[in-house]
């Protein structure tokens, strides 16, 4: 195995245009963040998909545990009043 020769993994987020959030697009390998951003520009915005790039070291990402899905994500599911479709408005009205 030559596993040791791999470069660190970076998760890449791209803002596709002004007014939008950065969205996770994938990952790549690079020795440092500067190279990661440079590579991300070539790899993930070849067709002009982005105006801003974030590179985050994969080791720095902390995730919720999917097994916690119950306590963490269930409560909002019954707070239907958070969603606009909860409210009835006259059909011909633009709101």
């Amino acid at each position: 195995m030559t596993q040791s020769s791999g470069l660190p993994l970076w998760e890449i987020f791209v803002r596709s245009r002004r007014g939008m959030s950065h969205i996770h697009v994938g990952s790549l390998h690079a020795a440092d963040w500067e190279m990661a951003v440079q590579n991300a520009r070539d790899l993930y915005t070849r067709r002009g998909e982005g105006v801003s790039i974030w590179a985050v070291a994969a080791t720095e990402i902390h995730a919720s545990d999917p097994d916690d899905k119950g306590p963490l994500f269930d409560p909002p599911a019954d707070k239907v009043y958070r969603h606009p479709t909860f409210y009835e408005v006259p059909e011909d009205l633009k709101l």
């Binding site: 790549l28 440079q38 590579n39 790899l43």
Partner: protein
């Protein structure tokens, strides 16, 4: 057309050809990396550089054909001239070498190109100015790529440092040609159509010197070699490159693709 106007157009045509040939030939060398780069990310990056330069070459050759007025297309100019008719720098036709060689050449050439094109984007010749303005943006990105790698290879390991030094020693003597005014171009410069490349020499040395210093490298103390690529006198490498590039096109002279 008056004689004077015809002479200017013919000089501008030569000028556009020389700039276009630089891009075409360097693009060819960079494209040799596609599939062979040190990492997959770099396959993508080097292909991007090659594509940018190919785009510039096509714009410049097409424009040269128009200036010439003989109806020669970008392909006629790329595929039907022999090596003595090419006007590119000796620097860009050198083989692709190792990655240190490629990074070093990119640093030397893209810094030159960015500075030159920034000036040329002010040309009184609008098409040339437009090509140069777009090219300068692309070149500045190429500089960034070259600078990042120059730092990492120069100040990386003993091996990478040594490879960078070797590349610098070999390529530096070929850079003098970049700053020479080709015959017949003085008139274009005084008419505000072309740029005297010697004007950007000082800034080029400064910028390249800084990048090398950041990378624990320095400008080698070696004399410049006499290069005459701009006059059509090339190294032996160009003929082989052209043989490869042109053979299919020339094998089917009446074909379109």
């Amino acid at each position: 057309m008056t004689d004077a106007l015809a002479a200017t157009r013919s000089r501008l045509c030569d000028y556009a050809l020389a700039l276009g040939d630089d891009c075409l030939i360097l693009s060819h060398r960079l494209s040799e990396w596609t599939g062979n780069a040190p990492d997959f990310e770099e396959d993508v990056a080097l292909s991007n550089l090659a594509l940018d330069l190919l785009g510039q070459a096509r714009g410049l050759l097409t424009h040269a054909g128009e200036l010439e007025g003989s109806g020669r297309s970008e392909d006629d100019l790329a595929y039907w001239r022999d090596d003595l008719q090419f006007r590119n720098l000796i620097l860009v036709e050198q083989p692709k070498g190792d990655f240190a060689w490629t990074v070093t050449r990119n640093l030397l050439f893209s810094t030159y190109q960015e500075l030159l094109y920034q000036e040329l984007s002010q040309s009184a010749e609008p098409i040339l100015a437009g090509i140069a303005a777009k090219g300068a943006l692309e070149a500045s990105y190429h500089c960034e790529h070259a600078a990042l790698w120059t730092a990492r290879l120069g100040d990386g390991t003993a091996e990478s440092h040594q490879r960078m030094e070797q590349a610098l020693m070999a390529l530096w003597p070929l850079t003098g040609e970049m700053f020479e005014l080709a015959p017949g171009q003085a008139e274009l410069v005084s008419a505000g159509l072309a740029v005297d490349p010697s004007l950007v020499l000082e800034q080029w040395q400064l910028r390249v010197g800084e990048k090398l210093q950041d990378a624990t490298l320095s400008i080698p103390r070696v004399p410049q070699r006499r290069c005459q690529g701009r006059l059509g006198f090339h190294s032996e490498h160009l003929g082989h490159l052209l043989a490869e590039m042109q053979h299919l096109h020339r094998s089917h002279p009446d074909a379109s693709w």
